[in-house]
């Protein structure tokens, strides 16, 4: 069973091949938003540098959001195109799930955070190791104080003394979050953007359960509605 996974949710683009033995191939280009130009070439290189061909792939995994709206759609449209043309199933893996997977063994409240701009971060809460990683919240877009408050609630509820943060949101809001969460907060040095390999591992787990997505109805998880919808909802007029 072989997964081809692609990730274009953030400025970092990635492609990976994952099978039952684990990660077989991964390439990451953390060089900003050039995904539309580079992604398919990266996929082609992945096949050329391994002994695999597209026919060998059993499912296509794609990071499904949240993240850059355009980036998510580039990945999702590419996954759908490949899946339809090569008659492969597609499996969407939420970005924050893939990020939490990086530190799934940490016995803490795990909170991957992505810089969502406009003073907010995308985040979700997970109960970390030793058991299997378990998501306990929705995917959210929150201000740092709101995130800290929600974190406190889950820490009390789950009786966890520490919270471990990963993601590029840490870079931007490190000192503010530290003030809010104090000694409870721990973060790896590396910001840990989402990786195609994590998406691939999680997609592999779903594939062996027979848990695949419908290629027609799979959509990015935006978390936020468009600005125009926001303005309309606030009665300000869309334009």
């Amino acid at each position: 069973m072989l997964i081809l996974s692609i990730d274009t949710a953030t400025p970092s683009a990635g492609v990976a091949l994952v099978d039952e033995k684990g990660l077989r191939y991964e390439a990451v280009a953390n060089t900003g938003y050039k995904h539309s130009r580079t992604l398919l070439d990266m996929i082609d290189v992945a096949f050329r540098q391994t002994d695999y061909v597209l026919r060998d792939v059993d499912a296509i995994g794609v990071t499904s959001g949240p993240g850059s709206f355009t980036g998510l759609r580039i990945g999702m449209a590419s996954a759908k195109g490949l899946a339809l043309a090569a008659e492969k199933p597609v499996i969407g893996i939420p970005t924050l799930d893939a990020m939490a997977f990086h530190i799934a063994w940490v016995p803490a409240l795990i909170c991957p955070i992505l810089n969502a701009r406009k003073g907010e971060i995308y985040g979700a809460f997970y109960q970390g190791g030793p058991g299997p990683l378990k998501r306990v919240s929705d995917y959210l877009a929150l201000s740092p104080p709101a995130l800290a408050e929600t974190a406190r609630t889950y820490m009390d509820q789950l009786d966890l003394g520490t919270i471990s943060l990963v993601g590029d949101g840490v870079d931007e809001y490190r000192s503010q979050l530290h003030d809010l969460l104090g000694g409870a907060m721990v973060c790896p040095e590396e910001p840990w953007l989402p990786r195609a390999s994590s998406t691939g591992h999680l997609a592999f787990r779903r594939l062996i359960q027979g848990d695949i997505d419908d290629v027609f109805s799979l959509n990015p998880i935006y978390v936020r509605q468009s600005e125009a919808e926001n303005r309309l909802a606030k009665g300000k007029g869309a334009r």
């Binding site: 539309s36 130009r37 580079t38 992604l39 398919l40 070439d41 996929i43 082609d44 597209l54 709206f69 355009t70 759609r73 580039i74 990945g75 999702m76 449209a77 590419s78 996954a79 759908k80 195109g81 490949l82 899946a83 339809l84 043309a85 090569a86 290629v215 027609f216 959509n219 990015p220 935006y222 468009s226 600005e227 125009a228 919808e229 309309l232 007029g237 869309a238 334009r239």
Partner: protein, 345 residues
């Protein structure tokens, strides 16, 4: 490379229509599906790029499958995938481009990047009665107003274009200002159909009568100023008559410059292209004037004037014949330098 039975899958997502089509040999439309977003954008009073992009990704996969099914073709029998990759809304274009690239790669078929405006012109070739070169082409849409000279396929010499608003843009702005609704082109046309030009007077802006440059910003402002003045004066301002005069003023200039361009180039064929080519008054007047001048006029069927993928597949077909294929790095671009290919090298 085979010379007939060439089937191109066309994909179009440059603005607010998701469209997929299968065209054989450049003029046999095997299927031509359009998922319009007009209703979605109506409540915003115009196309919202992010909303359009979200809709494209929702429907692109199923629309592609339906288009192949309607064409009665297994996907392996497609010879190439053509996609509009400029100009347009960048986020919207990227959905079609990303999908098309992966689809072509997955099928192991060639990929063709098509210019959306060039595709509008090629809508004129989706017929038995194809235009003959040399020809003059009037391209009128929400983003373009240009007169082009074509001596052969895929070569365009710019004769003149708008210096400010495109014709479709002027329709949209005036429609919004007059409260006629959205989209602007059909809204103005419908209002104008209930009245006639001449009750009010608006200027015909020719700039230099001997060149082929356009300007519609002044006409638009004149229409708005006149409307304000009428409303202040307490006379009963009749919006339908103003719409009719505005449409007439715009159409008259488009038609006269097109005929002059054909005369200057001494060609006997005029092609009309772009969304504004769906305007009934423009179709009527340019047909009459062309016939009075012994010029043959080509106008695509109504459903081929507005954005569609059959035109993309058709333009793609002529690129296929030239072996003009795209690489895996094909990207999308909001603006394009096309339509000046020859003039600017």
């Amino acid at each position: 490379m085979k010379q007939s039975g060439i089937r191109i899958l066309g994909i179009e997502t440059s603005c607010d229509e998701t469209a997929v089509a299968v065209v054989e040999d450049g003029n046999i439309i095997r299927s031509n599906l359009v998922a319009s977003q007009i209703e979605i954008h109506r409540r915003f009073g115009g196309v919202v790029p992010e909303v359009a992009s979200r809709r494209h990704i929702e429907v692109i996969a199923s629309l592609t499958e339906e288009a192949l099914k309607e064409a009665g073709l297994p996907r392996q029998e497609i010879d190439a995938v053509a996609v509009a990759n400029s100009p347009g809304l960048i986020g919207a274009l990227l959905v079609g481009v990303s999908f098309a690239k992966a689809y072509a790669y997955g099928l192991n078929k060639p990929l063709i990047g098509v210019n959306h405006m060039e595709a509008h012109i090629y809508a004129n070739f989706l017929t038995e009665n194809k235009p003959i070169f040399p020809a003059v082409c009037l391209v009128v849409s929400g983003g373009h107003t240009s007169l082009l000279y074509m001596e052969r396929h895929r070569e365009f010499e710019m004769m003149g274009e708008t210096r400010d608003d495109a014709a479709g843009e002027a329709f949209d702005k005036v429609a919004r200002f007059l409260g006629l609704g959205y989209p602007g082109g059909p809204a103005v046309q419908n209002a104008a159909a209930l009245a006639s030009p001449g009750k009010y007077h608006l200027p015909r802006v020719y700039l230099d009568r001997n060149d082929f440059e356009f300007s519609f910003s002044g006409l638009k402002t004149a229409a708005m100023n006149l409307w304000n003045k009428l409303q202040r004066s307490g006379e009963d301002a009749e919006v339908n008559y103003l719409a009719a005069e505005f449409q007439e003023a715009l159409v008259e200039v488009l038609v006269e410059k097109s005929i002059n361009a054909a005369r200057q180039k001494n060609v006997k064929q005029i092609l009309l292209a772009g969304g504004v080519a769906a305007n009934a008054r423009l179709r009527e007047r340019i047909t009459a004037e062309a016939s009075a001048n012994n010029i043959q006029i080509h106008i695509p069927a109504l459903e081929l004037c507005t954005d569609n993928a059959a035109m993309v597949a058709c333009a793609g077909y002529y690129q296929y014949l030239d072996g003009d294929f795209a690489g895996l790095d094909l990207n999308a671009f909001p603006q394009s330098g096309l339509l000046v290919k020859k003039a600017c090298g």
